[in-house]
Every structure is written in C-alpha cells, then in structure tokens.
C-alpha cells in the first residue's frame, strides 16, 4: 500500500520537476537559444589571433594553403604527413636564387633563402587530409599553413569547402605550366649552347 502511494508521489514529482525546468527554459528561450537557422545564420567564429607570434597564436584547422613563392621544395611537409596526401616533385633550377619570369618562379623567399629547386608539382589531396596540422610545423619557410594563417586577410578562415566532384578537392599549388616551361627553358638553353 505504501509502495503504491510513493510510486504515485515519485511519478508526479518527477514530472513536475521536469516541467519546471522546461518552464524556466521557456521564459529564457531568447537568451538560451542554441538553435540557429544554419545557412543563413552562423555561429560567430571564436576570436583568433593568428600570425607567427607564438605567444599569442591560436591554431586553426581549416584547409591548407601554400605560398608557392616561399616554398623551397625541401619535402619536409611531405615527410611529416601521416597519410601521405602531399605530393611534391621538384626539378633543379637553372641557376640558384634567380627569378624565372617565364614560369613565374621566384628565386628568393621572403626569408631570404635562395632557392635551388623549382617545384613542378605540389598537390594536396584535401579529401585524404586528416587535419592533423603536422605538416605545418616543420616547414623552414613557414609557407604551408591552414588558411587564415599568417595572411588572414588574403585567406579567410573557411570551414565550408565541399565540392561536387572529389577531384576538385585535390589542390594544385604549383605554378601552372612550371614543368613544361622549365623543360622548354632548358631546351632553349641547350640549343643556344650548341
């Protein structure tokens, strides 16, 4: 008999307890709103401090970007990647540290390193990438970074980069026609010598 009444009491009180929480939320609905109409409304992105100042650096994970003018083709990022989604091919430059206008190759990086190699292929397959950020740490020229990195104005942080075709997710950073242009350059040089 006692059990019967405690059961009723507990049921009613637990329903009332739950309902009172609902009631509180009903009146605070405006302040407590966690649902957003996604494509129109978005969460504000957290305040980020990005750049190369390590004391006030917020790491971000987004798609990768490479500043090709600074890349010396040292392959350190390729070796650091655990899933091997970075593919780099390099060729010897005709002269160390010299610009090649024909293929838009810059000879000297912004850190002042003189390049000995021309990067003819720099592909990152973002559909394979696991966003571990391991490739960005060893780079000696700090030229591979998650977008929104050192040049946040030029590359805004962007989490929404779906593509209709999988092959569009392979980002090709090497200068267009670098391989053919370099071969042509070498050919014409050989001809001139001959």
């Amino acid at each position: 008999m006692k059990r019967y009444f405690t059961d009723i009491y507990e049921s009613v009180s637990s329903i009332l307890g739950g309902m009172s929480i609902t009631l509180v939320h009903l009146f605070k609905a405006r302040n407590d709103n966690v649902t957003l109409q996604y494509p129109e409304e978005k969460w504000p992105r957290p305040e980020r401090n990005i750049g190369f100042d390590h004391n006030s650096y917020n790491v971000i994970r987004s798609r990768l970007h490479v500043d090709m003018d600074d890349c010396i083709g040292c392959l350190k990022c390729e070796r650091a990647c655990p899933v091997d989604c970075i593919k780099i091919e390099t060729e010897k430059a005709p002269a160390r540290g010299e610009d090649l206008k024909e293929i838009k190759h810059k000879g000297v990086t912004s850190n002042g390193t003189r390049k000995a190699l021309v990067v003819t292929r720099f592909d990152i397959d973002m559909s394979e990438c696991c966003y571990c950020n391991l490739c960005t740490y060893p780079c000696p020229e700090e030229c591979i970074f998650m977008t929104g990195g050192p040049n946040a104005k030029k590359h805004p942080i962007d989490y929404e980069f779906s593509e209709p075709d999988r092959s569009d997710l392979i980002y090709r950073f090497a200068k267009k026609g670098a391989k053919e242009g370099l071969a042509e350059l070498n050919n014409s040089k050989q001809e001139a010598e001959a």
Binding site: G18, I21, P46, H54, S56, N58, I60, N133, Y137
Partner: protein, 373 residues
C-alpha cells in the same frame, strides 16, 4: 502449470542501429521477449590502426590515437604520450602536466555528458540528451580555442604539447565551470530521478563486483559495482597525486549495487569530481614554463618495451609499445576498456527482456572506434 518455452529465435540487432553506439552487431537468442544469449560481432569499424602505427613515425601515431576513441581524443593522446615518455625517460615540466590534466578532465566531462545523454536517449528521453549536448558543445569550443580542432585534437605531443594555451583560455574555462556547475544538478533532477528512467534502469543489468573483476571491466563500470579502483588515485601518473578529489563508487541508491542506474550515477558524480579537478589545476597552473622544453628533436626510443596505463573516461587504457630502436614502433597495442565492457554484456544481460538489453548496452558506454581500432 510449468513455464511454457516457445521456440528460440535468433535476432540480429545492428550493425546499422543507432542504439549500438557505432557499428556493432549483436546476435541475440530470444525466447519470446526474454534474451537467453547475446553474441557481439565486431570488426565493422576496423581501420587497422595498430598495424598502421607500425609504418609511421612516433609523432605520426598521435593522430591515429585520436581516431580510436573519437569521443575522448585528449585522453587517448594522454595515454600515448605518458607511455612514450616512460619509454624514453623524459620528464616534462609542471606547466605541461597541468595543462594536460585540465584538458583530460574537460574531455572526461564532455565524454561523460555524451555517455549519460545518449543513455537517456536509448531509453527515449530526448530532452536531457539535448541539454547535455548543448553543454558538451561549450567544452568543445574551449578545445577549438586551444588547438583549432573540435574532435580530433593532436594536441599532446611526446615531451610536451603542440603549443601553449591561448590567451583567455583560463578565463573562458572558469566562466564555463561557473555556468556548468548548477547544470549538473539540473541533469540529475531531469534524468537521474525521473521515475520512468529509474524504473527502466534500477535493478536492471546488475554487474556484481566479482563478475566485473573477472572480466577485466574497468572505469566507471567497475566503480559502479562498488570497487574503489581508479588509476588516477591508485597508480597516479602526471600530477594527479597533487590534486584532491574523490572516487565515486556505486552505492545502489535506487536498487542494487552495480545496476544500470549506478553506472549512470557514477558518471554523473565523476563529472562533479572533474569540475573540482579542473578548478584546482587552474589554481595551481604554473605561470611560466616552455611547453616545448623537453621535446626531443628526433623521437627514437631505445630498444625495449613499455606497458603503461592511464584512466580514460571509459576505464583503464593501456598502451604497449615495443621499440626496436628505429623511428617507427615495432608493435603498438592498445588495451581498450570498452572492449572488456562489451565482453561482459552476455553475462549481465542474459535473462533480461529485449528492451532492457539496449538499456544495459547504453549504460556500459562503449565506443566502437576504440573496440575495433
């Protein structure tokens, strides 16, 4: 009149079933509504991580540990780096240790919030699940602030951290804790003392202490059976010995010790303890200290092997690393706490009704990513 036995029927639950917490197939033998035998079939989420780790260098293993228990990546990282540091005999400074503890405990809160919320969801309580997910989101925002990633962090490195705490992290964490503490009582009232929930979980799926120990069950599941065993207390690693916290154990408040309700309640109490730990760790956090100080240039441990264990939200997480002196592990084995928890399912769920099996499975809080690896 004796009991009428009908024909036994074999029934498959899963692999594509939301209540199986991943992709798990349970083959159950039923006699009407009563379950006589459960056989779990694994391997649907097997991604060869242990084998893959043999082909990548020691730093590159960390992203793979993330992906094993994807609901508690920080503690997976933590276990691995603790094992590697013991193998290589590295001592990290106090700032690193405290940051690691803060991250691990925040992760424990996030993981338990999801575990208890989903447990309610399995039993049909949708509202508490949304409340808990809402607050878990705030913890994940803290992690995003720290390392950019929301789920798979790759934050703890061998001999240090990938980078220091960002500016404003401590304030944001304290603000979150102030907001969060009253919410724990709200969860307890909303779900824990709800009559329907209690009826569905109390006295259901009782796991006696002997059974738990025999099957090697660890973590909150073991503590719910009344065994006071927590590696943070009993085999302290990192700076846990300097922190003051209790180990909640199951007392059988609503039914018997070791029932599903106890497993739920122990997790809820652990959330409270973790809040306490985070507060203390933030108080004691040293102001200076380079997080890269003891990081080796090249990770090349001496020949030998190590087995080290840490307390993950799911229990006793062990790493066995065999090194042959090169820069890739010769063998890396993880001891998964969720695997043993799943092993005990047949023992404790046999004889219960069909609908109780999902309640018991939910109370064990398994993550299939960690079981299959």
């Amino acid at each position: 009149m004796g009991v009428v036995h009908g024909q036994e029927m074999v029934l498959n639950i899963g692999p594509q079933h939301p209540a199986t917490h991943g992709v798990l197939r349970l083959q159950v033998k039923t006699d009407g509504e009563v379950i006589s035998e459960i056989t779990p079939y694994l391997g649907y989420l097997h991604r060869c991580f242990e084998k893959h780790c043999e082909n990548v260098s020691y730093e590159q293993v960390i992203p793979f540990t993330d992906r094993c228990d994807y609901l508690a990546s920080m503690t997976m990282n933590f276990g691995y780096v603790v094992a590697m540091e013991q193998l290589m005999d590295i001592k990290v400074n106090d700032r690193v240790e405290y940051i690691r503890v803060i991250m691990a405990e925040l992760q424990r809160i996030a993981s338990h919030l999801l575990a208890t919320g989903v447990f309610g969801l399995d039993l049909g309580a949708f509202t508490p699940f949304l409340h808990m997910l809402r607050d878990r989101e705030r913890i994940i925002d803290l992690f995003e602030m720290t390392c950019g990633a929301r789920l798979l962090y790759n934050y703890m490195w061998v001999g240090g951290l990938s980078h220091d705490l960002p500016k404003g992290f401590v304030e944001a964490t304290l603000k979150f804790l102030d907001y969060f503490e009253p919410k724990i009582d709200e969860f307890e009232n909303l779900l824990g003392h709800n009559k329907i929930f209690v009826e569905r979980t109390a006295d259901i799926g009782i796991m006696p202490a002997e059974v738990a120990i025999n099957y090697g069950v660890t973590g909150p599941n073991l503590r719910a059976s009344g065994v006071n065993w927590d590696l943070r207390k009993d085999n302290p690693y990192s700076v846990y010995s300097k922190l003051d916290f209790n180990v909640p154990i199951g007392k059988g408040i609503k039914g018997t010790v070791g029932d599903s309700w106890d497993r739920f309640y122990v997790r809820l109490q652990e959330i409270r303890e973790s809040v306490k730990i985070v507060r203390q760790a933030i108080d004691q956090l040293p102001k200076d200290g380079d997080v890269h100080q003891s990081m080796p240039k090249k990770i090349r441990p001496p020949k030998g092997s190590i087995y080290s264990r840490t307390e993950s939200p799911r229990g006793d997480l062990g790493y066995y690393i065999e090194s042959d002196g090169s820069d890739t592990p010769y063998r890396l084995k993880m001891r998964s706490p969720a695997f043993t928890a799943l092993g005990v399912l047949n023992e404790i769920a046999g004889g219960w009704l069909m609908s109780d099996v999902l309640a018991i499975l939910g109370s064990l809080d398994i993550v299939l990513g960690e079981i299959d690896r």
